[in-house]
Symmetry: C2
Subunit: 252 residues, 2 copies
Amino acid sequence: MPNDSRTAQAAEVLVAVFGVRPVTLGARTAGPADGNPGEKRATDQGLQILLWRRAKDPDAGRWALPGGLLLPDEDVDSSARRQLAEKVDLTQVAHLEQTGVFSAPHRVPGVRTIATGFLGLVPLDADPAIPDDTAWHPVDTLPPMAFDHSDIAARAHLRLRGKLSYTNIGFALAPAAFTIATLRRIYATALGHDVDPTNLQRILSRRGMLAPTGTTASPGPAGGRPAALYKFAVTDLRVTDPFAAFRPPDAR
Amino acid sequence: MPNDSRTAQAAEVLVAVFGVRPVTLGARTAGPADGNPGEKRATDQGLQILLWRRAKDPDAGRWALPGGLLLPDEDVDSSARRQLAEKVDLTQVAHLEQTGVFSAPHRVPGVRTIATGFLGLVPLDADPAIPDDTAWHPVDTLPPMAFDHSDIAARAHLRLRGKLSYTNIGFALAPAAFTIATLRRIYATALGHDVDPTNLQRILSRRGMLAPTGTTASPGPAGGRPAALYKFAVTDLRVTDPFAAFRPPDAR
Protein backbone atom coordinates (compact mmCIF):
# COMPACT_ATOMS: atom_id res chain seq x y z
CA MET A 1 0.00 0.00 0.00
CA PRO A 2 2.51 2.69 -1.10
CA ASN A 3 1.35 6.14 -0.06
CA ASP A 4 3.04 9.40 0.86
CA SER A 5 1.52 9.25 4.33
CA ARG A 6 3.89 6.43 5.23
CA THR A 7 6.97 8.65 5.22
CA ALA A 8 8.30 10.81 8.04
CA GLN A 9 6.12 9.18 10.66
CA ALA A 10 7.02 7.72 14.04
CA ALA A 11 5.35 5.45 16.60
CA GLU A 12 5.93 5.76 20.34
CA VAL A 13 4.60 4.16 23.51
CA LEU A 14 3.86 6.12 26.71
CA VAL A 15 3.03 4.49 30.04
CA ALA A 16 1.09 6.09 32.91
CA VAL A 17 2.41 4.11 35.90
CA PHE A 18 0.31 4.52 39.07
CA GLY A 19 0.95 3.41 42.62
CA VAL A 20 -0.45 4.20 46.08
CA ARG A 21 2.53 5.78 47.80
CA PRO A 22 3.51 8.08 50.69
CA VAL A 23 2.69 11.71 49.87
CA THR A 24 5.18 14.36 50.88
CA LEU A 25 3.31 17.33 52.32
CA GLY A 26 4.80 20.80 52.31
CA ALA A 27 7.53 22.12 50.05
CA ARG A 28 10.28 19.70 49.11
CA THR A 29 13.71 21.07 50.04
CA ALA A 30 16.01 21.57 47.08
CA GLY A 31 18.44 18.69 46.60
CA PRO A 32 22.13 19.01 45.90
CA ALA A 33 23.46 18.97 42.35
CA ASP A 34 23.78 15.18 42.28
CA GLY A 35 20.01 14.93 42.02
CA ASN A 36 19.24 13.94 45.61
CA PRO A 37 15.61 15.02 45.95
CA GLY A 38 16.15 16.33 49.51
CA GLU A 39 14.15 15.68 52.66
CA LYS A 40 10.67 14.25 52.47
CA ARG A 41 8.09 14.05 55.23
CA ALA A 42 5.92 11.00 54.69
CA THR A 43 2.59 11.86 56.25
CA ASP A 44 -0.12 10.14 54.21
CA GLN A 45 -0.68 7.90 51.20
CA GLY A 46 -2.04 8.98 47.85
CA LEU A 47 -2.38 7.75 44.29
CA GLN A 48 0.76 8.86 42.48
CA ILE A 49 2.07 8.70 38.94
CA LEU A 50 5.66 8.18 37.80
CA LEU A 51 7.03 11.07 35.67
CA TRP A 52 10.45 12.08 34.39
CA ARG A 53 11.62 15.62 33.79
CA ARG A 54 12.63 16.47 30.22
CA ALA A 55 16.12 18.01 30.07
CA LYS A 56 15.99 19.09 26.42
CA ASP A 57 13.66 20.97 24.13
CA PRO A 58 10.95 20.64 23.03
CA ASP A 59 9.20 21.15 26.37
CA ALA A 60 12.45 21.15 28.39
CA GLY A 61 11.77 21.18 32.15
CA ARG A 62 8.28 19.70 31.76
CA TRP A 63 7.33 16.33 33.22
CA ALA A 64 6.68 13.43 30.86
CA LEU A 65 5.40 9.86 30.90
CA PRO A 66 8.05 7.14 30.59
CA GLY A 67 8.26 5.68 27.08
CA GLY A 68 9.73 6.41 23.69
CA LEU A 69 9.98 5.29 20.09
CA LEU A 70 9.07 1.81 18.90
CA LEU A 71 12.07 -0.16 17.58
CA PRO A 72 11.87 -2.04 14.26
CA ASP A 73 11.90 -5.49 15.90
CA GLU A 74 9.34 -5.00 18.69
CA ASP A 75 5.57 -4.55 18.97
CA VAL A 76 4.04 -1.84 21.17
CA ASP A 77 3.52 -4.14 24.17
CA SER A 78 7.14 -5.37 24.28
CA SER A 79 8.30 -1.80 23.65
CA ALA A 80 6.33 -0.57 26.67
CA ARG A 81 7.84 -3.30 28.86
CA ARG A 82 11.35 -2.59 27.59
CA GLN A 83 11.11 1.19 28.06
CA LEU A 84 9.54 0.82 31.50
CA ALA A 85 12.42 -1.46 32.51
CA GLU A 86 14.74 1.44 31.70
CA LYS A 87 12.94 3.66 34.27
CA VAL A 88 11.74 1.24 36.94
CA ASP A 89 12.26 -2.42 37.83
CA LEU A 90 9.73 -4.15 35.64
CA THR A 91 9.22 -7.10 37.96
CA GLN A 92 7.47 -4.60 40.23
CA VAL A 93 4.88 -3.62 37.60
CA ALA A 94 1.93 -5.90 38.41
CA HIS A 95 -0.33 -4.91 35.50
CA LEU A 96 0.14 -3.25 32.10
CA GLU A 97 -2.57 -2.62 29.49
CA GLN A 98 -3.15 -0.45 26.41
CA THR A 99 -5.51 2.47 26.99
CA GLY A 100 -5.75 3.88 23.46
CA VAL A 101 -4.08 5.57 20.53
CA PHE A 102 -3.21 9.28 20.70
CA SER A 103 -2.85 10.51 17.16
CA ALA A 104 -3.82 14.19 16.83
CA PRO A 105 -1.80 15.38 13.81
CA HIS A 106 0.37 17.91 15.70
CA ARG A 107 0.49 16.36 19.18
CA VAL A 108 4.29 16.69 19.16
CA PRO A 109 6.33 19.18 17.12
CA GLY A 110 8.27 18.00 14.05
CA VAL A 111 7.79 14.53 12.65
CA ARG A 112 4.27 13.18 13.10
CA THR A 113 4.35 10.77 16.05
CA ILE A 114 1.50 8.43 16.96
CA ALA A 115 1.44 7.24 20.56
CA THR A 116 -0.01 4.08 22.09
CA GLY A 117 -0.97 4.91 25.70
CA PHE A 118 -0.67 2.34 28.50
CA LEU A 119 -1.81 2.00 32.11
CA GLY A 120 0.76 0.43 34.45
CA LEU A 121 0.28 -0.40 38.15
CA VAL A 122 2.81 -0.89 40.95
CA PRO A 123 1.80 -2.57 44.26
CA LEU A 124 1.89 -0.74 47.60
CA ASP A 125 4.79 -2.86 48.90
CA ALA A 126 7.00 -2.32 45.83
CA ASP A 127 9.67 0.34 46.09
CA PRO A 128 11.25 0.44 42.66
CA ALA A 129 14.59 2.21 42.26
CA ILE A 130 14.04 5.15 39.91
CA PRO A 131 16.53 7.36 38.05
CA ASP A 132 17.43 10.85 39.25
CA ASP A 133 15.29 12.58 36.61
CA THR A 134 12.20 10.58 37.67
CA ALA A 135 9.76 11.10 40.58
CA TRP A 136 6.32 10.11 41.86
CA HIS A 137 3.68 12.88 41.69
CA PRO A 138 0.26 12.91 43.42
CA VAL A 139 -2.48 12.74 40.77
CA ASP A 140 -4.42 15.66 42.34
CA THR A 141 -1.54 18.11 41.97
CA LEU A 142 0.14 17.21 38.71
CA PRO A 143 2.85 19.56 37.44
CA PRO A 144 2.73 21.03 33.90
CA MET A 145 3.27 18.07 31.58
CA ALA A 146 4.92 17.82 28.16
CA PHE A 147 2.89 17.60 24.92
CA ASP A 148 -0.43 15.74 25.43
CA HIS A 149 0.90 13.58 28.26
CA SER A 150 -1.65 14.91 30.74
CA ASP A 151 -4.44 13.64 28.44
CA ILE A 152 -2.76 10.22 28.26
CA ALA A 153 -2.39 10.18 32.07
CA ALA A 154 -6.04 11.22 32.52
CA ARG A 155 -7.24 8.44 30.21
CA ALA A 156 -5.26 5.87 32.21
CA HIS A 157 -6.59 7.24 35.52
CA LEU A 158 -10.17 7.00 34.21
CA ARG A 159 -9.54 3.42 33.05
CA LEU A 160 -8.17 2.52 36.50
CA ARG A 161 -11.19 3.99 38.31
CA GLY A 162 -13.59 2.23 35.92
CA LYS A 163 -11.91 -1.16 36.26
CA LEU A 164 -11.82 -0.92 40.08
CA SER A 165 -15.61 -1.08 39.90
CA TYR A 166 -16.07 -4.11 37.60
CA THR A 167 -12.77 -6.04 37.68
CA ASN A 168 -10.26 -7.35 40.25
CA ILE A 169 -7.64 -4.76 39.14
CA GLY A 170 -7.04 -3.81 42.80
CA PHE A 171 -4.68 -6.82 42.99
CA ALA A 172 -2.07 -4.78 41.11
CA LEU A 173 -2.14 -1.91 43.64
CA ALA A 174 -2.37 -4.03 46.81
CA PRO A 175 0.62 -5.60 48.59
CA ALA A 176 0.97 -9.39 48.77
CA ALA A 177 -0.90 -9.48 52.12
CA PHE A 178 -3.05 -6.73 53.62
CA THR A 179 -5.64 -5.90 56.24
CA ILE A 180 -9.11 -4.78 55.14
CA ALA A 181 -8.20 -1.32 56.51
CA THR A 182 -5.23 -1.15 54.13
CA LEU A 183 -7.30 -2.42 51.19
CA ARG A 184 -9.94 0.22 51.93
CA ARG A 185 -7.27 2.93 51.93
CA ILE A 186 -5.96 1.70 48.56
CA TYR A 187 -9.43 1.68 46.95
CA ALA A 188 -10.45 5.03 48.49
CA THR A 189 -7.19 6.61 47.32
CA ALA A 190 -7.41 5.24 43.78
CA LEU A 191 -11.12 6.08 43.43
CA GLY A 192 -10.81 9.53 44.99
CA HIS A 193 -13.66 9.01 47.47
CA ASP A 194 -14.28 6.98 50.62
CA VAL A 195 -15.25 3.31 50.47
CA ASP A 196 -17.11 1.34 53.12
CA PRO A 197 -14.72 -1.41 54.36
CA THR A 198 -17.53 -3.88 55.17
CA ASN A 199 -19.01 -3.55 51.67
CA LEU A 200 -15.59 -3.79 50.07
CA GLN A 201 -14.77 -7.01 51.91
CA ARG A 202 -18.20 -8.52 51.22
CA ILE A 203 -18.20 -7.68 47.49
CA LEU A 204 -14.70 -8.96 46.78
CA SER A 205 -15.15 -12.09 48.94
CA ARG A 206 -18.50 -12.99 47.37
CA ARG A 207 -16.86 -12.86 43.93
CA GLY A 208 -14.06 -15.19 45.06
CA MET A 209 -11.42 -12.46 44.73
CA LEU A 210 -10.34 -12.21 48.37
CA ALA A 211 -8.86 -15.01 50.49
CA PRO A 212 -7.62 -14.96 54.12
CA THR A 213 -3.90 -15.72 54.45
CA GLY A 214 -4.53 -17.37 57.85
CA THR A 215 -2.19 -14.88 59.54
CA THR A 216 -2.70 -11.54 61.29
CA ALA A 217 -0.99 -8.18 61.14
CA SER A 218 1.13 -7.12 64.09
CA PRO A 219 -0.97 -4.81 66.33
CA GLY A 220 -0.50 -1.07 65.81
CA PRO A 221 0.78 1.35 68.49
CA ALA A 222 -2.74 1.55 69.97
CA GLY A 223 -2.73 -2.19 70.67
CA GLY A 224 -6.06 -4.05 70.35
CA ARG A 225 -6.92 -7.29 68.56
CA PRO A 226 -4.58 -7.97 65.60
CA ALA A 227 -6.34 -7.64 62.22
CA ALA A 228 -6.65 -10.61 59.83
CA LEU A 229 -4.52 -10.52 56.70
CA TYR A 230 -5.96 -11.17 53.23
CA LYS A 231 -4.59 -11.67 49.73
CA PHE A 232 -6.07 -11.47 46.24
CA ALA A 233 -7.06 -14.99 45.15
CA VAL A 234 -6.78 -14.07 41.44
CA THR A 235 -3.87 -11.96 40.21
CA ASP A 236 -4.60 -11.62 36.53
CA LEU A 237 -7.26 -9.24 35.28
CA ARG A 238 -10.86 -10.59 35.34
CA VAL A 239 -14.25 -8.99 34.97
CA THR A 240 -15.54 -9.91 38.42
CA ASP A 241 -19.17 -9.11 37.99
CA PRO A 242 -20.55 -10.11 34.60
CA PHE A 243 -24.34 -10.46 34.60
CA ALA A 244 -24.85 -14.09 35.64
CA ALA A 245 -27.53 -14.54 33.00
CA PHE A 246 -25.07 -13.72 30.22
CA ARG A 247 -22.35 -16.16 31.22
CA PRO A 248 -21.90 -19.19 29.00
CA PRO A 249 -23.61 -22.27 30.54
CA ASP A 250 -20.29 -24.04 31.31
CA ALA A 251 -19.00 -21.07 33.33
CA ARG A 252 -21.89 -21.06 35.82
CA MET B 1 13.20 12.74 18.71
CA PRO B 2 15.04 11.99 15.45
CA ASN B 3 15.57 8.27 14.96
CA ASP B 4 15.83 5.90 12.01
CA SER B 5 12.75 4.03 13.14
CA ARG B 6 10.58 6.97 12.11
CA THR B 7 11.18 6.41 8.39
CA ALA B 8 9.34 4.02 6.09
CA GLN B 9 6.52 3.44 8.54
CA ALA B 10 2.76 3.65 8.04
CA ALA B 11 -0.33 3.80 10.27
CA GLU B 12 -3.67 2.28 9.33
CA VAL B 13 -7.07 1.78 10.94
CA LEU B 14 -9.12 -1.43 10.59
CA VAL B 15 -12.73 -1.78 11.73
CA ALA B 16 -14.51 -5.02 12.65
CA VAL B 17 -18.16 -4.09 12.01
CA PHE B 18 -20.66 -6.52 13.52
CA GLY B 19 -24.42 -6.81 13.11
CA VAL B 20 -27.11 -9.41 13.80
CA ARG B 21 -28.35 -10.21 10.30
CA PRO B 22 -30.15 -12.88 8.24
CA VAL B 23 -27.86 -15.86 7.58
CA THR B 24 -27.95 -17.50 4.16
CA LEU B 25 -27.88 -21.27 4.59
CA GLY B 26 -26.64 -23.59 1.85
CA ALA B 27 -24.25 -22.78 -0.96
CA ARG B 28 -24.44 -19.34 -2.42
CA THR B 29 -24.98 -19.45 -6.19
CA ALA B 30 -22.22 -17.85 -8.18
CA GLY B 31 -23.02 -14.32 -9.22
CA PRO B 32 -22.50 -12.87 -12.67
CA ALA B 33 -19.34 -10.96 -13.54
CA ASP B 34 -20.80 -7.65 -12.35
CA GLY B 35 -20.35 -8.83 -8.78
CA ASN B 36 -23.98 -9.70 -8.02
CA PRO B 37 -23.61 -12.14 -5.13
CA GLY B 38 -26.38 -14.39 -6.44
CA GLU B 39 -29.48 -15.78 -4.72
CA LYS B 40 -29.72 -15.87 -0.96
CA ARG B 41 -32.17 -17.79 1.18
CA ALA B 42 -32.75 -15.91 4.43
CA THR B 43 -33.58 -18.55 7.02
CA ASP B 44 -32.18 -17.41 10.38
CA GLN B 45 -30.27 -14.60 12.08
CA GLY B 46 -26.65 -14.69 13.16
CA LEU B 47 -23.86 -12.38 14.26
CA GLN B 48 -22.08 -11.30 11.08
CA ILE B 49 -19.05 -9.21 10.24
CA LEU B 50 -18.58 -6.88 7.27
CA LEU B 51 -15.65 -7.85 5.01
CA TRP B 52 -14.42 -6.79 1.57
CA ARG B 53 -12.57 -8.99 -0.88
CA ARG B 54 -9.08 -7.85 -1.88
CA ALA B 55 -8.69 -7.65 -5.66
CA LYS B 56 -4.92 -7.13 -5.71
CA ASP B 57 -1.84 -8.67 -4.15
CA PRO B 58 -0.71 -9.04 -1.48
CA ASP B 59 -3.35 -11.51 -0.35
CA ALA B 60 -5.54 -11.05 -3.47
CA GLY B 61 -8.87 -12.88 -3.14
CA ARG B 62 -8.76 -12.89 0.65
CA TRP B 63 -11.33 -11.08 2.76
CA ALA B 64 -10.27 -8.00 4.73
CA LEU B 65 -11.60 -5.59 7.33
CA PRO B 66 -12.68 -2.16 6.06
CA GLY B 67 -10.08 0.52 6.72
CA GLY B 68 -6.85 1.90 5.34
CA LEU B 69 -4.04 4.37 5.85
CA LEU B 70 -4.26 7.36 8.17
CA LEU B 71 -4.15 10.70 6.36
CA PRO B 72 -1.85 13.51 7.56
CA ASP B 73 -4.73 15.70 8.80
CA GLU B 74 -6.81 13.15 10.73
CA ASP B 75 -6.50 11.16 13.95
CA VAL B 76 -7.27 7.42 14.07
CA ASP B 77 -10.87 7.90 15.25
CA SER B 78 -11.82 10.31 12.46
CA SER B 79 -9.95 8.08 9.99
CA ALA B 80 -12.01 5.06 11.06
CA ARG B 81 -15.23 7.04 10.63
CA ARG B 82 -14.15 8.36 7.22
CA GLN B 83 -13.07 4.98 5.88
CA LEU B 84 -16.18 3.26 7.19
CA ALA B 85 -18.31 5.88 5.44
CA GLU B 86 -16.66 4.75 2.20
CA LYS B 87 -17.92 1.16 2.73
CA VAL B 88 -21.19 1.59 4.62
CA ASP B 89 -23.53 4.44 5.56
CA LEU B 90 -21.93 5.75 8.73
CA THR B 91 -25.19 7.04 10.23
CA GLN B 92 -26.09 3.35 10.63
CA VAL B 93 -23.03 2.58 12.79
CA ALA B 94 -24.37 2.95 16.33
CA HIS B 95 -21.10 2.40 18.21
CA LEU B 96 -17.40 2.60 17.37
CA GLU B 97 -14.49 2.05 19.78
CA GLN B 98 -10.76 1.28 19.65
CA THR B 99 -9.89 -2.31 20.59
CA GLY B 100 -6.09 -2.14 20.50
CA VAL B 101 -2.91 -1.65 18.50
CA PHE B 102 -1.67 -4.42 16.20
CA SER B 103 2.03 -3.86 15.65
CA ALA B 104 3.88 -7.12 15.07
CA PRO B 105 6.91 -6.08 12.98
CA HIS B 106 5.98 -8.06 9.83
CA ARG B 107 2.18 -8.15 10.08
CA VAL B 108 1.93 -6.90 6.48
CA PRO B 109 4.59 -7.30 3.79
CA GLY B 110 6.73 -4.33 2.73
CA VAL B 111 6.67 -1.09 4.68
CA ARG B 112 6.06 -1.57 8.40
CA THR B 113 2.41 -0.73 9.07
CA ILE B 114 0.92 -0.32 12.54
CA ALA B 115 -2.83 -0.83 12.81
CA THR B 116 -5.34 0.56 15.28
CA GLY B 117 -8.19 -1.95 15.54
CA PHE B 118 -11.81 -0.87 16.11
CA LEU B 119 -15.12 -2.50 17.01
CA GLY B 120 -18.14 -1.13 15.11
CA LEU B 121 -21.79 -2.12 15.63
CA VAL B 122 -24.79 -1.84 13.30
CA PRO B 123 -28.38 -2.20 14.65
CA LEU B 124 -30.69 -5.02 13.58
CA ASP B 125 -33.01 -2.64 11.71
CA ALA B 126 -30.23 -0.96 9.71
CA ASP B 127 -29.68 -2.17 6.17
CA PRO B 128 -26.67 -0.24 4.94
CA ALA B 129 -25.94 -0.21 1.22
CA ILE B 130 -22.57 -1.89 0.70
CA PRO B 131 -20.27 -1.98 -2.34
CA ASP B 132 -20.03 -5.00 -4.65
CA ASP B 133 -16.72 -6.18 -3.20
CA THR B 134 -18.17 -6.20 0.34
CA ALA B 135 -20.37 -8.77 2.12
CA TRP B 136 -21.59 -9.85 5.57
CA HIS B 137 -20.07 -13.11 6.86
CA PRO B 138 -21.29 -15.22 9.83
CA VAL B 139 -18.67 -15.10 12.59
CA ASP B 140 -18.72 -18.91 13.05
CA THR B 141 -17.70 -19.63 9.45
CA LEU B 142 -15.28 -16.87 8.52
CA PRO B 143 -13.44 -17.22 5.20
CA PRO B 144 -9.62 -17.05 5.02
CA MET B 145 -8.73 -13.46 5.89
CA ALA B 146 -5.87 -11.21 4.77
CA PHE B 147 -2.81 -10.52 6.95
CA ASP B 148 -3.67 -10.54 10.69
CA HIS B 149 -7.25 -9.37 10.13
CA SER B 150 -8.73 -12.50 11.72
CA ASP B 151 -6.86 -11.63 14.97
CA ILE B 152 -8.23 -8.08 14.82
CA ALA B 153 -11.75 -9.44 14.21
CA ALA B 154 -11.37 -11.95 17.08
CA ARG B 155 -10.25 -9.21 19.48
CA ALA B 156 -13.31 -7.11 18.56
CA HIS B 157 -15.64 -10.10 18.95
CA LEU B 158 -14.18 -10.82 22.41
CA ARG B 159 -14.61 -7.15 23.40
CA LEU B 160 -18.25 -7.25 22.24
CA ARG B 161 -19.01 -10.41 24.25
CA GLY B 162 -17.29 -8.97 27.33
CA LYS B 163 -19.11 -5.64 27.15
CA LEU B 164 -22.51 -7.33 26.69
CA SER B 165 -22.02 -8.64 30.23
CA TYR B 166 -21.08 -5.43 32.05
CA THR B 167 -22.27 -2.54 29.84
CA ASN B 168 -25.38 -1.51 27.89
CA ILE B 169 -23.60 -2.13 24.52
CA GLY B 170 -26.63 -4.16 23.31
CA PHE B 171 -28.24 -0.81 22.38
CA ALA B 172 -25.98 -0.67 19.32
CA LEU B 173 -27.14 -4.08 18.01
CA ALA B 174 -30.85 -3.71 18.86
CA PRO B 175 -33.40 -1.94 16.64
CA ALA B 176 -35.11 1.25 17.84
CA ALA B 177 -38.01 -0.78 19.33
CA PHE B 178 -38.06 -4.51 20.05
CA THR B 179 -39.87 -7.30 21.85
CA ILE B 180 -38.06 -9.19 24.64
CA ALA B 181 -38.02 -12.21 22.30
CA THR B 182 -36.08 -10.19 19.71
CA LEU B 183 -33.69 -8.80 22.34
CA ARG B 184 -33.05 -12.32 23.61
CA ARG B 185 -32.25 -13.47 20.08
CA ILE B 186 -29.79 -10.57 19.64
CA TYR B 187 -27.99 -11.30 22.93
CA ALA B 188 -27.93 -15.08 22.37
CA THR B 189 -26.58 -14.60 18.85
CA ALA B 190 -23.88 -12.13 19.89
CA LEU B 191 -22.84 -14.18 22.94
CA GLY B 192 -22.92 -17.52 21.14
CA HIS B 193 -25.09 -19.23 23.76
CA ASP B 194 -28.73 -19.10 24.89
CA VAL B 195 -29.94 -16.40 27.28
CA ASP B 196 -32.97 -16.62 29.57
CA PRO B 197 -35.42 -13.89 28.43
CA THR B 198 -36.86 -13.32 31.93
CA ASN B 199 -33.39 -12.78 33.42
CA LEU B 200 -32.38 -10.56 30.52
CA GLN B 201 -35.43 -8.33 30.94
CA ARG B 202 -35.06 -8.18 34.74
CA ILE B 203 -31.32 -7.37 34.69
CA LEU B 204 -31.54 -4.62 32.07
CA SER B 205 -34.71 -3.12 33.59
CA ARG B 206 -33.30 -3.07 37.13
CA ARG B 207 -30.27 -1.14 35.85
CA GLY B 208 -32.51 1.43 34.17
CA MET B 209 -31.39 0.41 30.68
CA LEU B 210 -34.72 -0.83 29.31
CA ALA B 211 -37.91 1.21 28.94
CA PRO B 212 -41.31 0.20 27.52
CA THR B 213 -42.31 2.20 24.43
CA GLY B 214 -45.99 1.90 25.43
CA THR B 215 -46.81 0.13 22.15
CA THR B 216 -47.00 -3.52 21.10
CA ALA B 217 -45.70 -5.54 18.17
CA SER B 218 -48.20 -6.73 15.59
CA PRO B 219 -49.08 -10.38 16.36
CA GLY B 220 -47.17 -13.04 14.42
CA PRO B 221 -48.78 -15.56 12.04
CA ALA B 222 -49.66 -17.77 15.05
CA GLY B 223 -51.80 -14.98 16.53
CA GLY B 224 -51.88 -14.68 20.34
CA ARG B 225 -51.50 -11.68 22.61
CA PRO B 226 -49.32 -8.94 21.01
CA ALA B 227 -45.93 -8.56 22.75
CA ALA B 228 -44.91 -5.29 24.42
CA LEU B 229 -42.23 -3.25 22.69
CA TYR B 230 -39.18 -1.88 24.53
CA LYS B 231 -36.33 0.48 23.76
CA PHE B 232 -32.92 1.13 25.29
CA ALA B 233 -33.23 4.08 27.71
CA VAL B 234 -29.52 4.94 27.37
CA THR B 235 -27.85 4.88 23.96
CA ASP B 236 -24.28 5.77 24.75
CA LEU B 237 -21.92 3.26 26.31
CA ARG B 238 -22.16 2.90 30.12
CA VAL B 239 -20.84 0.39 32.61
CA THR B 240 -24.22 -0.76 33.90
CA ASP B 241 -23.16 -2.72 36.91
CA PRO B 242 -20.32 -1.07 38.84
CA PHE B 243 -20.09 -2.29 42.44
CA ALA B 244 -22.46 0.05 44.28
CA ALA B 245 -19.94 0.41 47.11
CA PHE B 246 -17.36 1.88 44.75
CA ARG B 247 -19.53 4.56 43.19
CA PRO B 248 -18.77 8.13 44.19
CA PRO B 249 -21.20 9.33 46.89
CA ASP B 250 -22.96 11.82 44.57
CA ALA B 251 -23.79 9.07 42.04
CA ARG B 252 -25.80 6.95 44.48
